[in-house]
């Protein structure tokens, strides 16, 4: 089966004035559909830089990136926006929900930009909220939800457009350990339903939930190991 994601020799050079810094020094890996990948590594090793490229938010200085059969390389900003809208779901460390906006409308947001009609949006968002166990909290604003619940809303928002991949950069970074477990339980359950997940984390026990761990150091991959067989219980 063709991989959902394939990176070939990705480099990312940041230029600040006359200084240059290579945050990614040739990253190559592929992710198959249905995988659950954890990216580990020390602070500053280039994990977020890599996630931004995977998320089509940033463009690599060189290298090739294929997402779900599409060559993302030569795309313009509007095309990239469409790829983000159709193929990707984001979960951030800081939840990044819209304030003063009910949970269900936050979940609907990707569908709004996809041009889906209001009524259909509502039912799809409703279903996504049920999937993350938040039925009954549809009209709570983010300020009326706990951190764990907010992250669930964010996950529902990432799910709602049926993306090829969900990208999560330190999704448990702002949560306590028991809430982290809840969220990881949810990710595991979603992965079992066949959703591909790539997640950055600092914490070893969080990474344990993933079947495959990729470790970065100084902009390079130093290890890429299958820790469980796909489908194995965590």
């Amino acid at each position: 089966m063709a991989p959902v994601i394939s990176l070939a020799d990705i480099r990312r050079v940041f230029t600040m004035g006359d200084q240059q810094f290579e945050a990614l020094k040739g990253i190559s890996f592929a992710v198959a559909a249905g995988e659950f990948v954890a990216i580990m590594g020390a602070s500053g090793s280039g994990k977020s830089t890599c996630m931004n490229i995977l998320g089509c938010l940033d463009i690599p200085t060189s290298g090739r990136y294929h997402l779900d059969g599409l060559d993302v390389g030569g795309m313009g900003t509007d095309q990239l926006a469409e790829v983000r809208n159709k193929k990707l779901g984001f979960v951030f460390q800081g939840f990044n929900l819209l304030a003063r906006t009910p949970a269900i409308e936050n979940v609907e947001l990707p569908l709004v930009y996809a041009g889906i009609a209001a009524r259909e949006r509502r039912t799809m968002a409703q279903r996504a909220l049920e999937q993350v166990g938040l039925a009954g909290k549809e009209y709570n604003h983010p300020s009326q939800l706990s951190g764990g619940q907010q992250q669930r809303v964010a996950i529902a928002r990432a799910l709602v457009n049926n993306p090829a991949v969900i990208l999560a950069d330190e999704p448990t970074g702002n949560l306590d350990s028991s809430t982290s477990e809840e969220i990881m339980g949810l990710f595991t359950a979603l992965n079992r339903q066949g959703i591909t997940i790539i997640m950055v984390t600092h914490e070893r026990d969080v990474a344990e939930y993933a079947a495959r761990q990729i470790t970065f150091r100084d902009g390079r991959i130093i290890s890429d190991a299958q820790t469980k067989h796909v489908g194995q219980q965590g």
């Binding site: 940033d58 926006a81 983000r84 159709k86 951030f92 906006t101 930009y113």
Partner: protein
Amino acid sequence: MDFLQTVKIALRALRTNKMRSFLTMLGIIIGIAAVIAMMAVGSGASYVISQQIASIGSNIILVLPGSTTSGGLRSGSGGSQTLTSDDVKAIMAECPSVDLAAPTVRSSALVVFGNLNWSTVLMGTTPEMFEIREWAISSGRSINQQDVDGAAKVCLLGQTVAENLFGSSDPVGKMVRIKKVPFTVIGLLERKGQSPQGQDQDDAVFVPLRTAQRNLIRSPFPNSVGALMVKGKSEALLAKAEEEVNSLLKQRHRITGSKEADFSTRNLSEILAVAEQSAKAMSLLLGAVASISLLVGGIGIMNIMLVSVTERTREIGIRMAIGAKKNDILLQFMTEAVLLTMLGGIIGIALGAGGATVVSRMLSWPTLISFQSIAIAFVFSAVVGIFFGFYPAKKAAGLNPIDALRYE
């Protein structure tokens, strides 16, 4: 992204900062109200001017005693005694471009009927006056030449005077006392309404010229008159008539060379031109207020929208990450700015229309708010929103999603 959703998002953003939104709108509100008022004044003035032309006729020359050159001030009629009844006769006889001329003497007088009295304006004049002004009689008869020659003690009442002394009953044939002298009421003038200056033209009583000179205004110069009204044969001949009157009076008053004339002439089209000019100046002033406050209001909107873009950088980042295109963001902020100005425009239209209605009631002008002026004001407010909202919206749309997401 559908437009309805865009409007919904924009309205939510405006509602989040109600006070700020309102204060930002103030400039637009004032500007649009001024636009409405400007157009109302403009159409009101042209209405008044056309009314004035219709009511007086543009081919009339006023001859005033005394000179106008002393600091531009004109002494009131009676203040100078330089014009006489003989001047009027001479003008009628010797100026070929003149159709009619009529003298007036003016005073205030207490008119008494039974136990009622009314203080009003007394005018002594000749029959030609009513012809020149085209004042019609609603009952009874007008003053005729015999009345003037015989200094008859008869009078014509304006509607206001008649109402106050006689109520709804017909005053013709009744006796009234003017300055304690008994007079017979021979006629009632038709209603003329307010003058454009707001004076009640029906609050006056008219008597034959000589009667006024002998019995009511005891002047040391019994033959002198106040202002003269001269009607040209036609509008085209008005300038010529004015010249003829001028040179005739100079000759009669022995004014030669650089000696200052003891009278002055002005024609109504000149006076109307002045009125038109002041209306134009008023419109110009309002126009200046409108454009300045729209400019300042627009800059205020731009400023607030820039603040809003900065405040909501993270939101913009989220929207972009989730799939908003540049144009979606651009449209969202443009919509917000235009909604802001259009809301201000609607309030401004209401305010301007209210103000113009009050003014038109007070001056008894017709309703001056046209659909056209409302449409213009509305379009203006939208254009201000588009113009001043574009730069902030462009800035928002140009944000880099990664930087925007990281923004604290």
